[in-house]
C-alpha cells in the first residue's frame, strides 16, 4: 500500500521548496547556532568581577591583607577606597561599587588581642541573583580567613598540629567551573529542535491546504501516510544538521565536549524530533491558516520547552501541580538525557526510563494527530 516510489517525489519536491526559500532555510540552520552564541554569552549565571570598594578605618597590614584576598580572586574587582561614612551612601547608588567592605578602626589590634571583630558588608540588592552570589562569596572568604587566624593562634599557644573537626571540601563534578554555557548547550538543542520541527511541520502542511495543492494531491493515488512521511522527512534531516551545528558551535565557543556516545545522542535526538513532528501535525489539524499555525506552533513548543523542561527554571523548585505537568513534557526527558550524555557521558542503561517516556509521547501524539488528520487532510 505505502510505496517508496511515491514518497520520493514528495521528499524531492519539499527539498526543492526548502532550498528555494533561502530565508526559512537560514532560519532553520543558522539561527540555532546564533541563539546559542547569544544565550551562551548573555544568559550567564556566573557572577564575576563585582566592583568592591573598601572603607578601611584601620589601615594596617592585617586589614590590607584581609582585603587583598577578595580583590585577588576573580569574583571581585577593586573599585577604590572610601574615606568617610558619607561616601558609602554615594558609591552604591552611583554604581561605582556593588559591594562595600567596612573595616573598623581597631581591626588588627582586636584580632591580635584575640577579641572578636565585626566586619560590615554592604551589598547592592538591585540584582537579587548577583547580590546573593556576592554575599555568599564574601561569607565563605571571611570564614576562611577567620579560621586561619584561629589556627595560627592555636599554634602560637603550643598546639603542634591543630585539626578542624570537619574539613569541608566540595567538588563539583561534570562542570567543575559551574559554567552556564555547558548547562545551556543541551537545553538549547532541545529548545531549538522543538521550535523548528513543530513550526516547520505545521506550516508546511497548512500551506498545502491554504494553497489548495492538497486537493490536487488528494485526487492522485498518493496515500495520506505517504504524503506525511514525504513532507516530514526533510525536516528531520534538517533538524539533525542543526543539532550538529549547535554541537560544533558549543565546542568551538564554550568548549562543550560530548562525553557520551554520539550514536546514542543522535538516536535520542531522532526520537525527540518525532515528538516535534507529531506536535506539528497536531497543530496543522487545528490551524487553518499559516499565521494561525505559526502562532499556535510557537506557543506549544516555546512554553513547555523553555519554562517546563528545566531549561530556564529548575523543575524541583516548581509547585507540585506544575511538576506533575512536566511529566507529559517530552522536553523534560530530552534535556535530562542530553545533559547526561553530553556532560556526564552516561549510557542508555541509565536513561532507558526517560527514553521510554519520550518514545511513548512521540507515538501517542503521532497517533492522535494521525487519527484527526486522516479524516481532515484529504476528505471533508
Amino acid at each position: 500500500m505505502i510505496s517508496v516510489h511515491r514518497i520520493r517525489p514528495i521528499i524531492r519536491k519539499e527539498f526543492r521548496q526548502i532550498m528555494r526559500d533561502r530565508r526559512s532555510l537560514g532560519v532553520l540552520l543558522v539561527v540555532p547556532a546564533f541563539m546559542l552564541i547569544m544565550f551562551g554569552y548573555a544568559l550567564n549565571y556566573d557572577v564575576q568581577h563585582i566592583p568592591l570598594a573598601v572603607y578601611d578605618q584601620d589601615r594596617s597590614t592585617m586589614s590590607r591583607e584581609f582585603i587583598q584576598q577578595f580583590i585577588h580572586s576573580e569574583y571581585f574587582d577593586f573599585a577604590g577606597s572610601i574615606s568617610s561614612e558619607q561616601e558609602i551612601d554615594t558609591v552604591i547608588p552611583s554604581q561605582k561599587a556593588r559591594v562595600v567592605v567596612v573595616i573598623p578602626p581597631r581591626f588588627s589590634e582586636d584580632l591580635l588581642a584575640n577579641r572578636s571583630v565585626s566586619i560590615q558588608v554592604l551589598v547592592d540588592g538591585a540584582n537579587a541573583t548577583t547580590a546573593a552570589t556576592a554575599a555568599g562569596y564574601l561569607v565563605a572568604m571571611t570564614q576562611d580567613y577567620s579560621t586561619n587566624i584561629s589556627l595560627q593562634a592555636l599554634q602560637r599557644f603550643g598546639m603542634s598540629k591543630p585539626t578542624l573537626p570537619i574539613d569541608y571540601r566540595p567538588r563539583i563534578w561534570f562542570n567543575p567551573e559551574l559554567k552556564s554555557a555547558k548547562f545551556m548547550v543541551p537545553g538549547l538543542i532541545g529548545f531549538i529542535l522543538m521550535m523548528s520541527t513543530v513550526v516547520s511541520t505545521s506550516l508546511s502542511i497548512v500551506r498545502e491546504r491554504e494553497k489548495g495543492t492538497i486537493e490536487q494531491i488528494s485526487v492522485s493515488p498518493i496515500h495520506p501516510m505517504e504524503l506525511l512521511v514525504g513532507k516530514t522527512m526533510p525536516y528531520v534531516l534538517i533538524s539533525l544538521i542543526a543539532t550538529v551545528l549547535i554541537l560544533i558551535t558549543g565546542y568551538a565557543l564554550f568548549n562543550v565536549v560530548v562525553r557520551g556516545s554520539m550514536l546514542l545522542l543522535f538516536l535520542e535526538t531522532l526520537i525527540f524530533t518525532f515528538c516535534g513532528l507529531g506536535l506539528g501535525m497536531w497543530v496543522s489539524t487545528v490551524a487553518n491558516k499559516q499565521d494561525e499555525a505559526f502562532q499556535l506552533a510557537t506557543l506549544v513548543s516555546f512554553l513547555p520547552t523553555f519554562m517546563l523542561s528545566g531549561f530556564a527554571f529548575p523543575i524541583a523548585n516548581m509547585p507540585k501541580v506544575i511538576q506533575w505537568i512536566t511529566f507529559i513534557n517530552p522536553a523534560r526527558y530530552f534535556l535530562f538525557i542530553l545533559r547526561s550524555i553530553i556532560l556526564k557521558g552516561v549510557g542508555l542503561s541509565a536513561l532507558w526510563q526517560e527514553t521510554l517516556f519520550m518514545t511513548l509521547f512521540a507515538l501517542g501524539i503521532t497517533a492522535i494527530s494521525w487519527n484527526k488528520m486522516r479524516k481532515s487532510v484529504f476528505r471533508v
Binding site: 510505496s3 517525489p9 526559500d21 489548495g212 486537493e215 490536487q216 484529504f378 476528505r379
Partner: protein
C-alpha cells in the same frame, strides 16, 4: 437504454449537506464516454460540490456514483489513476517551475518516462519557452494551461474542470478551448462547470444546475426547444419605460435586458407589429425589432425564474 460499457459517469441520487445547508440535493445524471458535459448555473448552485464529490475529495451524504464502472464509495483507488481534476483556483506550487510542477504530478501518479509526455503537453499548451519559469511568475492564462498540463500528465480518461477559464483573458480562453477540442478528439470525457453560456453552447450536452439540483440536461439544441413561446429582440428609445410597459401585457412572459436592447419572451404568435403598437401607445419609439433564436441564456433565465416562482420559500 444506456450501454454500460459506454458510460463514463453514472450519478445516482447524490446528496451533500454541510452542517445547515444542503449543497447538492439529489442529482441523477449519466455521462457517456467521449462526451463533453457542461454544468451551468448560478453561484452556489452546487456545481463545485458535485464535481468535488465525483473526484473523491468530498464524501457524499447520500447516494452514490460509478465512474468508469468503479464504485465511487468503495473503489476510489481504482478511479484515481484514471481521472484528472482542475480546481477553480490555481493550485500548483508557485515556488516550483513549470517543469518541476509537471514532474511532481507525473511522479506521484507513477508515470514512467514522463519526459516525452511532458514535452508533448508543453508543446500542446505552448508553454515550452517558459518551462523553467516559476509558476508564480506566470500570467493567469498560462497558469491555467499549466494546471491543465499537470492534470493530463497521467493520461486520465475523464477530466473534471471547475470553471477553468474564469479570470482568463479572451485570447488564452480561445487557446484553452482549442486544447479541449483536441482532447475530445482523443476520446477523453470532460465534465466542466462554467459560468459562461457561450462555453456551454459548445458542449455536447449541458446541464442547468440550481439550488443543488439539475433542472435539465440535454444538448444545447434540445434545451433551446424547451423555450415556451418566441423571442423578440427590441431596441427601444427608453429602456426602462419599455420594460415596464411590456411587463403589463399578459402575453409577455418575460423581459430580459441586454445592454441597450431587450429580449422579450412572448406567448405563441405575438407579431412584431403588435409589440411596436404597444410601445408607441406608451410613447416609446422602437428603433429596431426582430425575431431571434432563443439563446441558452434566454432559456436558463426563464427556467430559473419559473423555478423561483414555484418555490419561493428557498432562501
Amino acid at each position: 437504454m444506456i450501454d454500460p460499457s459506454n458510460t463514463a459517469i453514472a450519478i445516482n441520487g447524490l446528496k451533500k449537506s454541510f452542517e445547515e445547508t444542503e449543497a447538492v440535493r439529489g442529482v441523477n445524471l449519466t455521462i457517456s464516454k467521449g462526451e463533453m458535459f457542461g454544468l451551468v448555473g448560478p453561484d452556489g448552485a452546487g456545481k463545485t460540490t458535485l464535481i468535488r464529490m465525483l473526484c473523491g475529495i468530498l464524501v457524499p451524504t447520500e447516494g452514490n456514483a460509478t465512474i468508469l464502472g468503479y464504485d465511487l464509495a468503495t473503489e476510489l483507488n481504482s478511479i484515481k489513476p484514471k481521472i484528472g481534476y482542475l480546481s477553480q483556483r490555481f493550485s500548483l506550487y508557485p515556488d516550483l517551475s513549470i517543469d518541476e510542477n509537471i514532474e511532481f504530478f507525473a511522479e506521484i501518479h507513477e508515470v514512467k518516462g514522463y519526459e516525452a509526455r511532458r514535452n508533448e503537453l508543453l508543446e500542446f499548451t505552448r508553454l515550452t519557452p517558459f518551462r523553467d519559469r516559476l509558476a508564480d511568475k506566470l500570467s493567469g492564462g498560462m497558469k491555467q494551461k499549466l494546471a491543465l498540463a499537470a492534470t493530463l500528465i497521467h493520461k486520465p480518461e475523464i477530466i473534471f474542470l471547475d470553471e477553468p477559464t474564469t479570470g482568463v483573458d479572451p485570447v488564452s480562453r480561445r487557446e484553452f478551448w482549442k486544447i479541449l477540442s483536441s482532447l475530445l478528439e482523443e476520446g477523453i470525457t470532460i465534465l466542466m462547470a462554467t459560468p459562461y453560456l457561450d462555453e456551454a453552447e459548445r458542449c455536447s450536452r449541458v446541464g442547468l444546475m440550481s439550488n443543488g439540483q439539475i433542472l435539465l440536461a440535454d444538448t444545447p439544441q434540445q434545451v433551446k426547444r424547451q423555450m415556451k413561446g418566441s423571442v423578440l429582440e427590441v431596441i427601444p428609445s427608453n429602456l426602462n419605460k419599455a420594460t415596464d410597459t411590456l411587463k403589463k401585457y399578459s402575453e409577455v412572459i418575460e423581459v430580459q435586458t441586454f445592454g441597450d436592447r431587450i429580449n422579450v419572451v412572448v406567448e405563441g404568435n405575438v407579431a412584431a407589429d403588435t409589440l411596436t403598437g404597444w410601445l408607441s401607445k406608451a410613447g416609446v419609439e422602437t428603433k429596431m425589432i426582430r425575431n431571434i433564436q432563443p439563446s441558452l441564456e434566454n432559456v436558463f433565465i426563464a427556467l430559473l425564474r419559473e423555478r423561483s416562482e414555484e418555490e419561493p420559500a428557498h432562501a
